[in-house]
């Protein structure tokens, strides 16, 4: 989404640049689902349905934004779900036990998440180990740490947290969102800015495009790789805080499999798993599509919730095939 191409694109007559195609496909899919839902179900076609998707998935969106950075460099971060759970657990236990105030707890949790990401990024870079295995280790570590804190779910009764959980921010015409949605939206905007207008962001794309070339062009590839895992760690911790708002509890079994949801959202959003191509905006669409599938199944009423997984599975198949065709065509 380099701005030049956007400003110079005059109208729809010009052919759409190839890199926007996957995002457009996702956008069309989303619109089609929404229209189909609106035709089929009573009360579906309102704006609140979409806003509810955001409300219910704000934490996933934040986590997926961090994952977008990692996948854009051609890496992967499997630890995010576990870090989310660890964050809820640390927040809940610190507030329930010693009674720490939220303005101390939240920064601490964000710091822990970022540090975990930093360490994993450093290992990936310094020892040249596949991110898959490093973050897998990070996943087990973080998940295990949850249970050293406690094996039971810890409720959160802090007034600030409950306020965050219950506040409705009214928009126009009976539409409302939660504060978490605003946090998630800020995260998306910040990520988009960093990716498109800063050296770090462009180096992320360059590294994903060709790590070897990026090195030979004298770019700080190592620093960038460490940075993206740190960002992902930070986003996971932030997602964990948002999930604590949403659940009002800390539990070691929160966010099981969320890393896979986040990866699915990024891929459905049109980001190439090999790196170098994709947009944060696509990730937003990916999360929306995943959320809308859940909504549709709720509206349908008769279908079990496992159908969500089945649809996500099918969608992923379609999208990875699409990516394959897409990247095969680009190769000479």
């Amino acid at each position: 989404m380099t701005p030049p191409a956007m400003t110079s694109g005059r109208g729809a007559l010009r052919a759409v640049p190839a890199r926007y195609v996957p995002v457009l496909v996702t956008a069309c899919l989303f619109v089609a689902m929404f229209v189909a839902g609106g035709v089929r179900y009573e009360g579906f076609a309102g704006g609140q349905v979409i806003l509810n998707v955001f409300v219910d998935n704000a934490f996933l969106l934040v986590v997926a934004v961090g994952m977008t950075f990692v996948i854009l460099t051609g890496g992967i971060d499997l630890s995010v779900g576990a870090v989310v759970a660890l964050s809820t657990m640390i927040s809940a236990s610190l507030m329930a036990g010693p009674g720490w105030p939220p303005y101390l707890v939240i920064p601490l949790v964000l710091l822990i998440g970022s540090t975990l990401g930093l360490v994993m990024g450093y290992i990936v870079h310094a020892f040249d180990i596949q991110p898959f295995i490093v973050t897998l280790a990070g996943m087990f570590l973080a998940r295990g740490l949850c249970y050293t804190i406690g094996t039971e779910s810890i409720p959160i009764e802090d007034p600030t947290f409950t306020a965050f959980a219950q506040t409705r921010i009214d928009l126009f015409a009976d539409l409302w969102i939660s504060p978490s949605v605003i946090v998630a939206a800020l995260a998306v905007l910040a990520a988009a800015y960093v990716l498109h207008y800063t050296r770090l962001g462009r180096t992320v794309y360059a590294t994903g495009g060709s790590e070897q070339s990026a090195l030979l062009m004298g770019l700080p590839v190592g620093r960038t790789k460490i940075a993206v895992y740190t960002i992902s760690g930070f986003c996971s911790a932030l997602g964990g805080v948002l999930l604590s708002f949403y659940m009002l509890s800390g539990y070691g079994l929160h966010a099981v499999g969320m890393e896979l949801d986040a990866i699915a959202a990024v891929v459905i959003g049109g980001t190439l798993l090999t790196g170098g191509s994709g947009f944060v905006f696509g990730t937003v669409l990916g999360v929306l599509v995943l959320g809308l599938i859940q909504t549709v199944i709720t509206f349908e009423g008769t279908l079990s919730s496992w159908w969500t997984k089945i649809f996500i599975g099918l969608l992923l198949f379609v999208f990875i095939l699409l990516q394959r065709l897409f990247s095969a065509r680009r190769r000479p």
Partner: protein
Amino acid sequence: MAEPEPILRMSGIGKQFPGVRALDGVDLRLLPGEVHALMGENGAGKSTLIKVLTGVHPCDEGTVELAGREVAFAGPLEAQQAGISTVYQEVNLCANLSVAENIFIGREPRRRGRIDFRRMRTRAAELLARLELDVDVAAPLSSCSLAIQQMVAIARAIDVDARVLILDEPTSSLDAGEVEQLFRVMRRLKEEGIAILFVSHFLDQIYEISDRMTILRNGRLVGEYRTSELSQVELVAKMIGKELADLERLHGEARVFDRPLVEARGLGRAGAVEPFSLTIHEGEVVGLAGLLGSGRTEIARLLFGADHATTGEVTVGGTAVSLRTPRTAMAHDIAFCSENRKQDGLIPDLTVRENIILALQATRGWTRPVPREQQDELVGRYVKALRISPPNPDHLVRDLSGGNQQKVLLARWLILEPKLLILDEPTRGIDVGAKTEIQRLVAELSDGGMAVLFISAELEEVLRLSHRVGVLRDRRLVADLPNDDALTTDVLLETIASGGRA
């Protein structure tokens, strides 16, 4: 004419790799505003010299002076900052970014921390205009042709006030028009006083663009010459480094070959070797001569089905066949002894017997093991016939000398009793004694009716063994000469140098 002071002077450069002396006392000087060709066969040390210059490898001996000051770079980035930029054969850019970004990434113009795309595009367009290129700088690099990508790499290289520009085989994937475009850019840079070090296997291009050249052979300096004062024949002779003596021929009296075994018609593979036609008769030894990288191995790989041909057809014994995989080629009794016996052929931790029996076993399939007595019988026969030493089939292959390893590889293919045996550099890196034995063996095999395609960098060897010699140049089969008394290494050199136009 007074020569200007060299901008770059490398003297007495030596570089030792484990087991190999890659460079030994090499001098190189570059004058501002000249195109200097670095010549030598593959493995002569050109790449190593460039890597030493740009700091990829530290040099063990000698000094590098840039504009009179002694320098030693810790890496390509440092060299670039000092004004020595390199453009590699493979375009090292990010195809997913725009043209402008590829030129400027890492040093983008910024305003208050934000990348100033507008200024970046303007400057990129100016820079490309300096190279007489008109490209949409906002377009992704992947939408540009290879030649344009190459120019973008050059634009990136010269943006940092380059004083020395190294072009490492930039033309190998360009077509004629694109090469012309590149040369225009090179001439323009030359006028601006930039010293260009140019590496290419294409002799015509060297003679078109370069002012002077430095020739390397086996890691040693052969000399520095003005291009205008050195003929192509002399150049090739200096690169190969053989006194042009004519040796006796191994094969006996000229025989008549009238039973074509393998015929290739218009066979070619885009980017590897241009379409060629070649007929190999039964009992005939066809030699392939040409510089390294001229397409010799590519022809062999096509005939063995290791690469897919993009054009043309092959007939074996009169019927058209499709050689899609080495297995189909083996089914048609074609065997291929590859150039790189360590990498592609022998398994060093298996014994001589196991290595020899491997190909035979592969053709039978794993469910039908070769009986032990038959193994012993076959292996014993070939160990004796090829005089493999030590003559113990249970010896590990890695303990054998290079020449004996080569014989083991030969034995592996010979027990298949192929009709066509392709030998790619079978005598490289082995001692003289083993060499003559392998040559003698080839002659015997052809007397016995086997056709042999013999590839060697050594022209004398090709001449001694072959009944016919195909000459390759720039990935094209330029001549197909009968090996009679008129054919000497001089004639071959002449043909390689002139491209068969003489």
